[in-house]
């Protein structure tokens, strides 16, 4: 169905055997490629607001290139901010303070304000500790005063959250959920992948490693360009299921694996919303939905789930698209035992991401047997699904003996950067398009 420029396609084997209860489907959401225009900037409430958060802790001086490139990257991102968008830059150490505008407000982007911001950023110095929760809290306060539709931040750090407890970070993070989205980058190899991934997952953003500081400028410009392209904010996947049915899981599986199951907010009888953040034109994401239903009789048809894309406040949600996940009971075994290839593929990709993370964790804990088994399984899955990027990253951490059976040997010496690259990118999946039949 196409409404308001979104299409929702459902791909599944809808046939269940007698007494069958498990329904699984891949839901592909695509926003139409032609943009109807950039969100209105000049009149009334601002459409977009951006905050750039830069780590200014002492370690950013060692080597000096880190802080130098961070300044350059911030300037590069500022240059991409479109006229009329609200923006601000903040610096973070064991506390956080606004860099531009210095009073903690937001500036409307134009040539003059961008130039002033670049000027302010050149004065950034590195000294102090790291308490990322403080940075997030300041960003939240700044966003709160400027109620734009699309609210996005870029966060850069080079180290671990040393000056806060995990609970403090989580508390700050929880307050930010739904307020703004955040893409996280770690420069160098002294930061904690798990920490940044917790933030990017909660705030519906991406996480990545930038091993060499000179790569920061291009990365920042790319992130800001992508943010400028977003048009529809706060889009949610609304899943309705019939009485007595249970949702087993809702996971994003392309472009990256992200389990949304626990992020459900009830939104009506038998329905719940899962957040998906902001969408730009031409974006496409795949979701894997699993529902357990009470079996009906052979020959009967039931709607196992109605998946809609909604945006706007709960009281006046606008439905942008809808797809139907069905269940038909049959005694024809040929129909009910068929495995939908996309469901199978994405189940494999989800398993691949899990195998990598478990394997890397086991390796860190010194449990070599488990690490070898898990990373071996990952190698086999990456090969089977044609996920070459992940296969290449895996090859830096293990020696592959047999790619079909997943027989590997852990490398004795693995560079931190290779291990962290594999960790951060473990969730990236290979897409499988629906074959037109």
């Amino acid at each position: 169905m196409t409404q308001s420029g979104f299409t929702v396609d459902v791909d599944q084997n809808q046939y269940l055997p007698e007494g069958g209860r498990d329904v699984s489907a891949i839901v592909t959401v695509t926003s139409s490629a032609d943009a109807d225009g950039i969100p209105a900037a000049a009149t009334g409430a601002p459409a977009s607001a951006e905050v750039i958060i830069i780590d200014c802790s002492g370690s950013m001086e060692y080597p000096h290139t880190k802080i130098a490139e961070a300044r350059a990257a911030t300037a590069a991102a500022i240059d991409v901010v479109r006229d009329g968008v609200w923006f601000s830059v903040i610096a973070g150490t064991d506390t956080a303070w606004p860099v531009f505008p210095p009073d903690g407000s937001m500036a409307i982007a134009n040539d003059a304000s961008r130039a002033a911001a670049r000027q302010a950023v050149t004065a950034l110095q590195a000294s102090g500790g790291t308490a990322i929760g403080q940075w997030l809290s300041l960003a939240r306060q700044i966003f709160a005063a400027y109620p734009a539709r699309l609210r996005h931040a870029i966060l850069l750090t080079d180290g671990k959250n040393q000056h806060q407890t995990p609970d403090q970070l989580l508390a700050a993070l929880r307050a930010c959920e739904g307020v703004f989205s955040c893409d996280c980058r770690g420069v160098g190899t002294d930061w904690e992948v798990g920490e940044l991934r917790t933030i990017s997952t909660a705030l519906l953003g991406t996480v990545d490693i930038v091993a060499d500081p000179s790569g920061l400028a291009a990365d920042f410009a790319g992130m800001m360009r992508s943010a400028m392209g977003k048009q529809v904010a706060d889009v949610a996947l609304r899943v309705w299921t019939p009485q007595h049915a249970t949702i087993r899981f809702v996971k994003q599986v392309a472009p990256a694996v992200d389990d949304l199951t626990a992020r459900r907010t009830p939104s009506g009888p038998q329905a719940g919303d899962y957040p998906t953040g902001a969408w730009g034109p031409g974006e496409s994401r795949d979701y894997h939905v699993g529902v357990e239903v009470n079996p009906a009789g052979v020959g009967q048809e039931m709607l196992a789930a109605r998946v809609s894309l909604v945006t706007g406040p709960p009281s006046a949600a606008e439905v942008l698209g809808q797809g139907l996940v069905r269940a038909i009971w049959t005694d024809d075994e040929a129909l009910s035992t068929e495995l939908n290839p996309r469901v199978a593929h994405y189940t494999g990709q989800t398993e691949l991401a899990g195998a990598i993370q478990e394997g890397l964790d086991a390796r860190k804990q010194g449990n070599e047997e488990v690490a070898t088994a898990k990373l071996g399984r990952a190698v086999a899955l990456a090969h089977q699904s044609g996920n070459e990027d992940t296969a290449r990253l895996l090859a830096k951490v293990v020696d592959v003996v047999d790619v079909e059976t997943g027989t590997v040997r852990l490398k004795k010496k693995v560079e931190d950067v290779d291990e962290m690259a594999l960790d951060t990118r473990s969730t990236k999946t290979v897409r499988v398009k629906k074959t037109q039949s």
Binding site: H244, P269, N294, G299, Q300, D331
Partner: protein, 286 residues
């Protein structure tokens, strides 16, 4: 506003917004609004009306009030509101066999029990459908409707317990070294049990636990893979049976497929239940 096959009012017209069943009429699907499927419910407030054939067209949605049971020759009265609006062969079951809640549709509103478990239909007593042109749901067996009031189809089920060599070979192959100690019995006399009552437990007697299963497989010969309380045969509706594994140590198979703990698996004539190392219980409906 549409009405689904289970009688729910639904704002959405393609699938019921309560239970998800398809509402839209398509080839082969019975039209849920057909008025002829209201057995035993006379128009409200008219006691003594002959049950046979008087349709309560349209009263289904209104929750027809029921007169006292004295007006009808036999029991199995639909209670509550919407018992009969199925568009399917009329099902007279009055309350959920699992939790006792009065039945209002195809699924129990309280525990989700599926009343249309295939094989469980009995001819509705005191009812002759006014028209037989209404097609049943494809794939379901519809027993011939009795024309005489009170004609219950007398169905008896028998469970035959025997030693199953093919199953034993399968178990041995899967068990590896642990299975080597278990031998196949040299002689096993078939035992027959008539299924009666609401449930029949399958297992092995335990004095300490006060457990006396109705189908007691203590032996000799003893099948070591059978738990004290291994499975339960449960009566569903008037004359159907299902098997449930409440959590046995080694699991239970029906026709070769393992049943999930807690699932009620409906049984058909000739179904084979395998449990333990070599036991097979075949049920016959006659």
């Amino acid at each position: 506003m549409a009405v689904c096959p289970n009688g729910h009012d639904s704002a959405s017209e393609d699938f019921c917004e309560v239970c998800g069943m398809r509402i839209a009429v398509s080839a082969g699907n019975p039209q849920p609004a057909a008025p002829s499927s209201a057995p035993g419910i006379p128009p409200a407030g008219v006691p003594g009306t002959s049950a046979a054939g008087t349709s309560a067209a349209g009263t289904r949605a209104a929750g027809a009030g029921l007169p006292g049971t004295g007006a009808f020759p036999t029991g199995a009265m639909p209670t509550g509101g919407l018992a009969a609006g199925q568009g399917a062969p009329a099902v007279p079951a009055t309350s959920c066999p699992r939790c006792g809640t009065a039945r209002t549709g195809q699924f129990c509103e309280s525990c989700g029990f599926n009343f249309t478990t295939p094989g469980s239909f009995a001819s509705p007593p005191s009812y002759a459908p006014p028209s037989s042109t209404l097609p049943p749901f494809p794939g379901l067996q519809v027993p011939p409707t009795a024309s005489a009031p009170g004609a219950d189809a007398h169905v008896t089920w028998t469970a035959v317990v025997a030693a199953d060599r093919a199953y034993y070979d399968q178990v041995r192959a899967a068990s590896g070294s642990e299975g080597e100690a278990i031998g196949f019995p040299a002689y096993y006399a078939e035992r027959r049990f008539r299924l009666a009552g609401t449930q029949m437990r399958i297992g092995r007697r335990s004095v300490s636990r006060g457990l006396e299963p109705e189908i007691d497989l203590t032996g000799p010969p003893v099948d070591p893979g059978i738990s004290r309380l291994h499975a339960v045969l449960i009566a569903v509706l008037d004359s159907g049976w299902a098997v449930l594994d409440p959590g046995s140590a080694n699991g239970t198979l029906v026709n070769g497929t393992e049943v999930r703990v807690g699932d009620q698996v409906p049984l058909h004539d000739g179904d084979r239940i395998n449990l333990g190392a070599w036991t097979a219980i075949t049920v016959y409906r006659g």
